[in-house]
């Protein structure tokens, strides 16, 4: 099993969700993060003092999937998140040796979905 972590632009979340559901990936966990990358932020001004906006709002999406869902999930995320402009973000794929469903205590592949 794999844990897929994607950092995306906030305004693409709805599209990413739509593409994931279309790919039959229905269980996701989402959180708000701040990112510093290649994308240049807007300078902010407070009482005339410039603050170089270097932490931009991003959304982090975590998805635990079985092996055969890895490629479809990645494709779906890219389809939903890509704008082609700098700042679109990254996908990280980690090994996930063990998954437990709290409600039933089930483990492994059948716990993941």
């Amino acid at each position: 099993m794999k844990l897929i972590i994607a950092i995306i632009q906030p305004h693409r979340l709805d599209d990413v969700k739509r593409e994931l559901y279309a790919a039959d990936v229905n269980l996701i966990t989402v959180s708000e993060v701040l990112g510093h990358g290649r994308q240049v932020g807007v300078d902010e001004f407070y009482r005339g003092v410039k603050e170089t906006g270097n932490l931009l709002r991003k959304i982090q999406v975590e998805i635990a999937v079985n092996e055969d869902y890895v490629e479809p999930s990645i494709k779906a995320i890219i389809k939903g998140a890509r704008t082609g402009k700098i700042g679109d973000g990254k996908i990280w794929v980690l090994d996930l040796p063990r998954v437990i469903r709290i409600r039933t205590g089930e483990e492994g592949s059948k716990a993941i979905g």
Binding site: H11, D43, E44, F45, L55, R57
Partner: protein
Amino acid sequence: MPTTPSPINGGDTAWVLISTALVMLMTPGLALFYGGMVRRKNVLGILMQCMICLALISVLWVVYGYSLAFGKGNAFIGGFDWAMLKGVGQDAYPDYAPGIPHQAFMIFQAMFAVITPALIIGSFAERMKFSSFVVFTTLWLTFVYCPIAHMVWGLGGFLRTLGALDFAGGTVVHINAGIAGLITALYLGKRLGTDKPGMHNVPFIVIGAALLWFGWFGFNAGSALAANGLAANAFVVTNTAAAAAALSWALMEWIFAGKPTMVGTVSGAVAGLVAITPAAGFVDIGGALIIGLLVSVICYMMVAFVKAKLGYDDTLDAFGVHGIGGAFGALATGLLAQKAVNSAGADGLFYGNPTQFIIQIKAVLFTVVYSAIVTWVICFVVDKVMGLRAASEDEVMGLDLSQHHERAYTILD
């Protein structure tokens, strides 16, 4: 200085000055009411537009707006005699308001001029370019608000002469702003990527609504321009209509959506306040209950069903609440007005005077048509000259960062 010096009454002056302060507070109240409804990235866009209305129009009003709206002129517009407040002094000007300084009347009216364009913001929220907004608002004040105010309230104004009843601004403020809102929403088209209100902070919406309700006592009861029985009547019916409309909106939701909501309840209160505005000095408690209970039914239908059907993006329902509610109120005044409440008013249809209802219809229609056409022209001109809508990447980034280079909330600190 006015030609007929008349004694200043302390009680009346105190009442009009504090009413002015209350009405002033409505614009920040509106800013919160609207600001809580948008997405987090656009809240400063809303607050800024509202506060700029307060700042910009306060200045324009003393420079030429008051003169254009209330100064000597023809049936459609005033003149420039009172520009820079020349002759608008500390004495009373009895033709508008005996017993209070002319300046007090002027500044009370200023706050109405401030909030009217601010109401429109709800319709084009989350997508107008800021610089264009400033130009739009200046033109709209000059070519829509001032003429309509003159026609309805100014000496010699044509709707005033016709006998249209508008105690505190049903036509001048609410229909006017509501229709302008609809036009701007249609002109600009839908927002990108969403068609729902953001509702990022409901407590702000409630604080805003509370300040609106509070300020509306100044708006309506202050329009008596004296601290007397009529002011008390206006105060009472204002509160009653707001309350009844809050309840009936909540009830509509209970029926159609399963639960009454906080946003719905305060939306209802605002609808009630809108609808009672033209009627406040003419109807009694029975009239207020009828107006309040019915306006929410109509506005709820409009906002929940008709808007969805027709598909325009009146983002925060400035048209759905102020336009529709204002029109309903103006017409209801033609039904429910009573000379027993205000001898300077008139009886409505239900009190044996169908003419008044016809007059009200005429006033509403005229305002709708005038406001729609001129607002559309202004949109068109501003759009051609400088573009009315924010660039799409600016809209996606949010108006706070793109138009004002600041964000409303820090995330980490």
